[in-house]
């Protein structure tokens, strides 16, 4: 891609060039001072992040344009599901800086992050499941993080390059709603780090799908592969009379139609089960608390599909780069 702005003077050397601001064409250009003083080339943090995360085999980003659709709930259960295999090391990073929910959902609220020579140590939920969130850095549950974009970006950068995850098989990244600072930063810093893809969460109603379509065009703009769509809160089965109601009606066809329109696979439809929310409030895993429910079955199916996608994308990468297969 060219880094010459559209409205640049003729023979502009490009804003990233060594000559930026110094070439003869730069004389009289209003941006000359900026070009000659700014650091050249990509942010050095990108290389640092990809080096740091080199020992992470798979990276998955959980996204949704809409808030409250269940990104954190899904993140937590995906992590629990992946970690049910004791051979796998799973790490979870919460980049929702203003509304971190993962400490509560994992039942590790109030834990502290320790600083060691090799970086910040994440909080361990199980032997093979670790979590990092801004929630661990706050002094109490009332404390608000009233930060503008640049400060949030700084912390995300630090999370990505300074957390000592160790050897990890899966890193799951939970994001806030929207397509703004946090998302741009995560994607930018991970641009060299081989992300397996994004999982997009939605609820069935059109109000939510509007925002989710925006998130999909965001992913396409930044070249982030999409693993699939998960439709959450799909239908509610009354515990008394077993009638299914559509609390959030799929007036425009819900996740299924979205999947058809965009050509992105629908990974599954999770029913609205009050016990899921309850488990999240209590910091337990729904998958082990209620192992025989229909929702658990859907979770397990979705997690299997994501695993398959990840192993495919890894072997694809290896054959592309000629990198030796890691048999460990």
């Amino acid at each position: 891609m060219s880094d010459i702005p559209e409205n640049a003077p003729e023979h502009c050397p490009g804003t990233q060039s060594e000559d930026a601001g110094k070439a003869s064409a730069c004389q009289g250009c209003p941006s000359q001072a900026i070009c000659s003083s700014l650091p050249k080339g990509p942010d050095p943090a990108i290389a640092e992040v990809s080096k740091k995360l080199g020992c992470v085999k798979h990276k998955i980003i959980i996204l949704s344009g809409k808030g409250g659709v269940g990104k954190s709930t899904f993140t937590a259960h995906l992590a629990h599901g992946l970690a049910s295999d004791e051979e796998q090391q799973v790490a979870v990073l919460d980049v929702d800086i203003c509304g971190p929910s993962l400490p509560k959902i994992f039942g590790v609220e109030g834990e502290q992050v320790h600083n060691s020579g090799s970086g910040w140590s994440p909080v361990y939920v199980n032997d093979n499941l670790s979590v990092m969130s801004v929630g661990f850095l706050l002094s109490g549950p009332d404390e608000a993080v009233i930060w503008r974009g640049p400060k949030k970006n700084g912390l995300i950068k630090q999370f990505l390059k300074d957390v000592d995850w160790g050897d990890v098989d899966f890193l799951v990244i939970d994001t806030p709603p929207g397509t703004s600072d946090e998302h741009i930063s995560v994607v930018q810093y991970l641009s060299e780090a081989n992300v397996d893809g994004a999982v997009i969460i939605t609820t069935p109603q059109e109000i939510s799908l509007i925002d989710v379509r925006k998130e999909i065009s965001f992913c396409r703009k930044v070249n982030l592969p999409i693993i699939g769509i998960v439709e959450n809160m799909s239908g509610f089965v009354c515990p008394k009379c077993k009638t299914e109601s559509q609390i959030f009606p799929p007036t425009t066809g819900g996740g299924e139609q979205l999947s058809k329109d965009t050509g992105i696979p629908l990974l599954g439809r999770l029913p609205l089960d009050p016990r899921i929310g309850k488990c999240c409030d209590e910091g337990k895993s729904y998958l082990t608390e209620v192992p025989d429910s229909p929702a658990t079955q859907v979770f397990v199916d979705i997690i299997d599909k994501i695993k398959t996608h990840c192993s495919k994308s890894r072997s694809q990468r290896e054959s592309d780069t000629g990198e030796a297969m890691d048999q460990s």
């Binding site: 608000a144 703004s180 009606p249 999240c280």
Partner: protein, 268 residues
């Protein structure tokens, strides 16, 4: 602070913010219903959507695809009725394709919000309701900084009953205290689902979180809005719930909040 050339907000009598730390709890729903309710009560209302990455308000009024018109004084809001008693402004009116994402960092969002606050010609409205995105970041700081000189009436906090949402709303309260915005009260949304078949009430997202938070933090509790599929369906179709379902308990809960806001107006 330097006052803009023509000050469109000085003719607005009350400014009310709808806030929540958590996403998807029903901020836009509450903002929409309150605006409609105030309109039915004979008030002139403006509704400003500052959620730039996920604007939902136009869809809820079935006004998607409407255009904002420019007049010599500034931008004219999109009116939902001929009498022009409810005007709406949202970034969705400025984007050509609804699937396009607004991939903006903070400074660009701030500039847009400042423009919304200074350039929209609201005329002499009684209430300006401002719907916000989740969080305590750029959008919120900018709105509150720009509104400081107009002394907004306060913020309505929306939450759902479960602990995870209440946690984020607690942070939002700290934000209000730090920035000096009065809290008008807490509304608990999605508070229980009545099965249309057998009438059994299920607390899909648990129960009572909003009320106990209000008690703990000495903030008025404005009531519970049940999880009502008719409300969700009305919003999907852009139908006026406050006009069509005056018998439902959901209406009663919303009306209670609206009456309080009208009372604020009488004290004035």
């Amino acid at each position: 602070m330097d006052a803009p050339m023509t000050d469109h907000l000085s003719t607005v009598r009350h400014v009310i913010l709808v806030l929540s730390g958590k996403g998807g709890v029903g901020k836009s729903t509450v903002a929409t219903q309150i605006a409609l309710g105030l309109k039915h009560a004979g008030k002139k209302v403006g509704l400003l959507d500052v959620d730039l990455c996920g604007p939902s308000i136009p869809k809820m009024f079935n006004l998607e695809g409407s255009d904002v018109h420019q007049c010599p004084e500034g931008w004219l809001p999109v009116y939902m009725d001929k009498e022009q008693t409810l005007g709406i402004m949202s970034i969705a009116f400025l984007i050509e394709n609804t699937d396009d994402a607004v991939v903006w960092r903070g400074p660009k969002k701030n500039a847009m919000i400042k423009q919304f606050l200074s350039d929209v010609v609201w005329r002499d409205i009684d209430y300006l309701i401002i719907d916000t995105p989740p969080g305590t970041s750029d959008e919120h700081i900018t709105v509150i900084e720009s509104l400081k000189s107009y002394c907004p009436d306060g913020a309505l906090l929306v939450t759902t009953p479960q602990g995870v949402a209440v946690g984020d709303v607690r942070r939002e309260m700290t934000f209000c205290r730090k920035t000096g915005i009065p809290i008008l009260g807490i509304i608990e949304n999605m508070s229980g689902f009545v099965c249309p078949c057998c009438g059994e009430i299920t607390n899909v997202f648990s129960k009572g979180g909003g009320e106990s938070l209000a008690q703990q933090s000495h903030v008025p509790f404005l009531g519970c809005i049940p999880l009502d599929p008719m409300l969700a369906a009305s919003l999907e179709e852009g139908k006026d719930f406050m006009e069509h379902y005056t018998q439902s308990p959901t209406f009663a809960a919303l009306d209670n909040v609206i009456q309080r806001l009208i009372a604020v107006d009488k004290d004035f």
